[in-house]
Subunit: 329 residues, 2 copies
């Protein structure tokens, strides 16, 4: 098994990326990890010892966080992310992992690697912590803006295979994000998707309201890309705003500062529950290869977890399962 | 001016409703408030003195919080909410206010009072606190599930008139909820709505991302009913979950309890910023009368604020403004 690693993407690249890759390489001697990026910079981060299952492919370009996705993927032919994607396309790697520009990752997946023929639209997933303690896979969070019912159905199908093989859930509960729990709720898109999902080769648990979704009501939450993307950004904005306001309360005076000090361990534990790095990454599903997006702020540990997702994705033959499940329809 | 009041709707009805109505009646001698509901129950809540501008219309039925909206509005002809709506339809009141079942309120507005002829779909608005300190009017949050571009345009137009006359904003900033700030972002619906909104008779500030929306980037956020409803429920679920988790941190031991005690005033102030009752209610726009939904958990003060919104809605001739603005197109 070979996994291409975009060494230049993410807030802490290449240092955290290279470190995470070395850790993953040591943990799995049977996996070859190919670091794609500026060779000198990678070597500087690597130190003296290089595990024999780590290779380097030198590239000269980088896609920046604020680059326009489609244009940069088309023009920067020697960008680390584009070269990593091309390796998958050409069979030199089974998948690729990147902590870089999310839009560019979607473009590289779709334009360079290409779709699974039986899947109509790719979907970007996101792993959300819930208050129930378990994480939930939400998709699509922005790969496909105009979703048809069959797209939503296929999201559920793909997420089912991923959740089983990569997240280790024997029977993932697939839910449809909707404005009410009863069948028949929602807009035209949801009503038609509900009918399809109900007859899918997976454990469909029906409509799930956003309020309930945060409390461990399903393992997979199926949404169209527009709604999913907005919800993701709303939670980010709301969460950050709340923590900012709490900080003001804590820093109001000497006594409140003392109180904050007492609460610090508990609050840290609480914040950790909502820490993306514990989950590593999330897949771009529907692409003909294992494509994992690591969080932009990934540290070495988070990136190692993202590589582990790619490894399980390939070892668990997720693509084959998706194809088989589509054939069943 | 006459406003019909559904005395039986809401968690604290009829007591809080009657008290809020009495307060509003005392504040505005020129407004007649008609309490619609069980006469005896209303009189019990009222005490000995009744202002001369408060009337009672006796009804025998009530729509419960868990009643199926459309069916209950159609069948319970003598329900307090339905009778209040009928008074508007028949010209005996200029508007009605209810803290009852939201779905039933939308049904009563649409089926009993009826639409403004020039408006294609009604929209339920919701007033959201933001971290910038100002509130934001979000619509639609669930009146219309399948929105066309022209619906979104009309939401912006209606919210503009409401924000000017009722919320007192001279030049409301109208934003379109979207997945990116640049023009051209989003799904087909958003792209087409953007073009319409850009040429509307109001101050359109372009696409607004959900993350930004919470930080005072616009006064009105235009969304389709499916997305708006999901976002509303997500924030409710996320906010409640966070506060629950914080409570666990505070109650962990004697020292943390002491710390929580120190922080209490600050936290209470913070929670107050996010307290719906400060905002009173939100309108169901597009109905041929002033229809205000008060929060279900309204206390007397919150309900008084909701009545005040209806008063300004009528005094500010919001319906006439909406009609004039539509004619301009």
């Amino acid at each position: 098994m070979r996994i291409a690693i975009d060494a230049m993407g993410g807030d802490h690249a290449p240092q955290a990326i290279v470190e995470g890759t070395l850790q993953a390489a040591r943990a799995h001697a049977d996996v070859t990890l190919v670091l794609v990026g500026d060779e000198e910079a990678i070597k500087r981060c690597m130190g003296s010892e290089r595990p024999s299952n780590v290779e380097i492919v030198h590239t000269t370009e980088v896609i920046a966080a604020d680059d326009e996705p489609v244009r940069s993927v088309r023009r920067k032919k020697d960008a680390s992310m584009v070269v990593a994607a091309r390796m998958v396309k050409e069979g030199q790697a089974d998948g690729f992992v990147s902590a870089g520009n999310t839009g560019a990752l979607m473009a590289a997946g779709l334009l360079v690697v290409g779709r699974i023929p039986s899947i109509e639209r790719p979907a970007l997933a996101s792993i959300w912590p819930t208050f129930g303690g378990n994480a939930m896979l939400v998709l699509d969070v922005g790969a496909n803006m105009d979703a048809d019912p069959v797209h939503l159905f296929q999201y559920g199908l793909m997420a089912n295979a991923f959740s089983k093989e990569v997240l280790g859930l024997p029977k993932p509960r697939i839910g449809l994000l909707n404005v009410g729990a009863e069948p028949g709720k929602g807009d035209k898109l949801r009503k038609e998707a509900f009918e399809l999902l109900q007859n899918g080769p997976f454990h469909f648990v029906g409509n799930i309201e956003a309020r309930e979704a945060m409390h461990d009501k399903c393992d997979v939450l199926v949404a169209d890309g527009f709604t999913g993307n907005n919800m993701l950004k709303l939670i980010e904005g709301f969460g950050l705003g709340l923590f900012d306001k709490l900080k003001d309360v804590f820093l109001a005076g000497p006594l409140t500062k003392l109180a904050a000090l007492i609460l610090k361990p508990g609050l840290r534990q609480f914040k950790k529950t909502f820490d993306y790095s514990e989950y590593g990454g999330a897949p771009l599903l529907g692409i003909d290869g294992a494509v994992i997006k690591a969080h932009g702020s990934s540290n070495a540990r988070a990136f190692e977890m993202a590589i582990e997702q790619a490894r399980r994705f390939i070892a668990g033959r997720v693509l084959e399962q998706i194809n088989q499940d589509v054939q069943k329809q």
